[in-house]
Symmetry: C2
DNA sequence: GTTAGCACTCTTTTCCCCTGAGTGCTAAGC
DNA sequence: GCTTAGCACTCAGGGGAAAAGAGTGCTAAC
């Protein structure tokens, strides 16, 4: 059986209506649409065809039709109308970003929250570094009685610091020697190169302050290997409960629990391939738990070797056009924001307190 | 009517059973308990009394009884058996804390997650500073071409840093002058004291690097006033969905949405008064949305002028004995951990990346 | 003071019937 | 050869009655 234009038109109508109503769509409802100048019988024939072609499903014999996964797929790839964001929408997204993004603290969490608000669905957000960083500069400065502060600059312009309490007293010049040695030996190295032999070597040349070296190297190596890890946040989980398909809490719980575990574990891999917006419809998700759930994600560059990803999770019957449009706009705005030099406040970090 | 020992015993049994089964408790069920050597008729009489006294409620005429808020209150305050944590429980809490708390990143989130796991309920966690901090030391160090790093030490031993790109070039000695001026003028001040006049004064004496001063003062003032704010996290929201009283997603959504908003807004006030474990039963919560929900919280000191709070949210029918026991143990372990100097890794901060 | 007995109340479950939405098919119409 | 009207058929969902079950309240006896 071949796919005619009219079949596509019918399929699109079915998906559109189902997205709006969450109820199986009957032939009559289709005929009542504008631009549908056929009788219900004709539509019924077309729908029967679409059923055998696998684009529609029938919950039971005498019910309307709902899109199958394949139907959604076709809809997403070819059929859905471009959703143009209204002025209001772009404005509210823009102001939200501007208001919330002033402080650089916990950016991924904030982004996730904003995306969730903008789509009224659970959202994930992630930032990850593309390549591994190395240390570019060390500085050890005195910090009052019995303490020094270690400052490490990384190749990606992050700045880390650590307060070290001294078991012994060292002089300012000891620290200068130490800083010089660190800068000479440890810059440009990957975490794997922080071997015990290297530690020995550095300690030998570090003079009086040698006892600080193990702490410093541990800290640096750990920080560097952590770079590779992603920074993931999930927000707005409870919005899933607003969707009629999750009126049953058990069902929602399964999805949300999975989301919690997996967002953190599996997402980094997703970043690897391909840019742009991606839609995973129901069963295309690998895990069984997300069989009735779709994921829409956008990946984008945010400069400085960082990649961002934002995405939302919702029922297969979600408004793909709206969601993808908002998500793309969001991604675009974020990229722009990070590209603007006056907003780029990158390493204005702040310690987590203990 | 007076409260006899037997009445208390019956009340305790009703609450215990209701916590276990989530079903109204009938007189027959009570008689089947060990140590209950009375007939169902006797129990019925006692239950009728407890009903008129307001400790029990009756969903409808021919149903069993469920505890009222007052009933829970009495149960929590007087009746419930001490729950002794098993070796397994203490061990799993301890190892969880040890494993997860190694990195100081995002501590509140991690704690919330752990508490939620330990209790199988949504959890909140918070860390807040008791008094306002001040800056104790400034250091401006060169960081390669056209950049300097500002390091600020706070009175609470946090260390903040910020990378500043220079619009102009300054020499090392300029920076030393600047550091000296900053240390002389800005240490020990509360954020309110960062006035425009002070800014002017500092700039006048800062020499070549004067153009850096506004950025530095803004950053410091903001960091200091942020100190006062609390650091709140919520985790495991979806665990609420496992509770039978929230099988209806709508209900769960109301509570969870409230939790999301309010945990961040209202909790800091809670920290103000009284230490120890506290139970808020259903209607004792101020907000209407939490009427059928109980909150158990523990506040504790974690040294360094910091206070911690952990808590869980669940149905009024929750296992108070178990939850309070686990929560207290958690609080205790955390305090201990933070008190141990070798684990105290306080300002080993790490920047959030953009 | 305690308990057995029993009538009574109310929810929950089950069953049945009916209604309505929607289909599939056939035969007629353009 | 499409398209459409017509009609029999199917099935989910709602309403209501009846039956089942759990538990109470009360009375009278122990």
């Amino acid at each position: 059986m071949e796919m005619t234009e009219r079949k596509k038109k019918v399929l699109r109508s079915v998906v559109d209506l189902y997205i709006r109503t969450a109820e199986p769509v009957g032939s009559k409802a289709i005929t009542e649409l504008p631009d549908m100048n056929y009788s219900s019988a004709t539509i019924r024939n077309e729908m029967a065809d679409l059923l055998t072609m696998g684009y529609l499903e029938q919950p039971h014999t005498s019910a309307g039709r709902i899109p199958s996964a394949a139907g959604y797929r076709l809809y997403v790839d070819e059929l859905m109308a471009d959703y143009r964001l209204s002025m209001d929408e772009t404005k509210s997204i823009n102001t939200a970003i501007e208001e919330k993004m002033q402080q650089v603290d916990r950016l991924v969490e904030k982004v996730a929250k904003l995306v969730s608000q903008a789509t009224d669905l659970p959202a994930i957000s992630m930032a990850a570094r593309r390549g591994g960083a190395t240390a570019t500069r060390f500085e050890v400065i005195p910090a009052g009685a019995g303490s020094v502060i270690l400052v490490v600059m990384l190749s990606d312009e992050q700045v880390l610091n650590k307060l070290i309490k001294l078991p012994l007293s060292v002089t300012q010049s000891d620290l200068q020697v130490l800083s010089a040695v660190l800068n000479a030996t440890l810059t440009g190295l990957s975490p794997e190169e922080f071997t015990p032999e290297l530690l020995q070597k550095v300690m030998n040349s570090a003079g009086e302050a040698a006892s600080l070296v193990p702490v410093i190297m541990d800290f640096t190596a750990e920080a560097l290997s952590k770079q590779a890890n992603a920074n993931v946040a999930v927000a707005g989980q409870m919005r899933l409960l607003g969707q009629p398909e999750y009126r049953d809490a058990k069902k929602a719980q399964r999805v949300l629990t999975k989301l919690d575990e997996d967002a953190l574990a599996n997402l980094p891999a997703v970043l690897e391939n391909g840019n742009g917006t991606k839609v995973l419809v129901g069963p295309e998700n690998i895990t069984q738990e997300l069989k009735d759930t779709s994921v829409v994600m956008t990946k984008f560059d945010i400069g400085d070797g960082m990649q961002g990803l934002i995405g939302v999770v919702g029922p297969t019957r979600m408004d793909y056009a709206k969601v993808t449009a908002r998500l793309s706009y969001f991604a675009e705005s974020l990229s722009k924001m990070f590209a603007k030099p006056e907003q780029k406040q990158l390493p204005g970090g702040k310690d987590e307190e203990a």
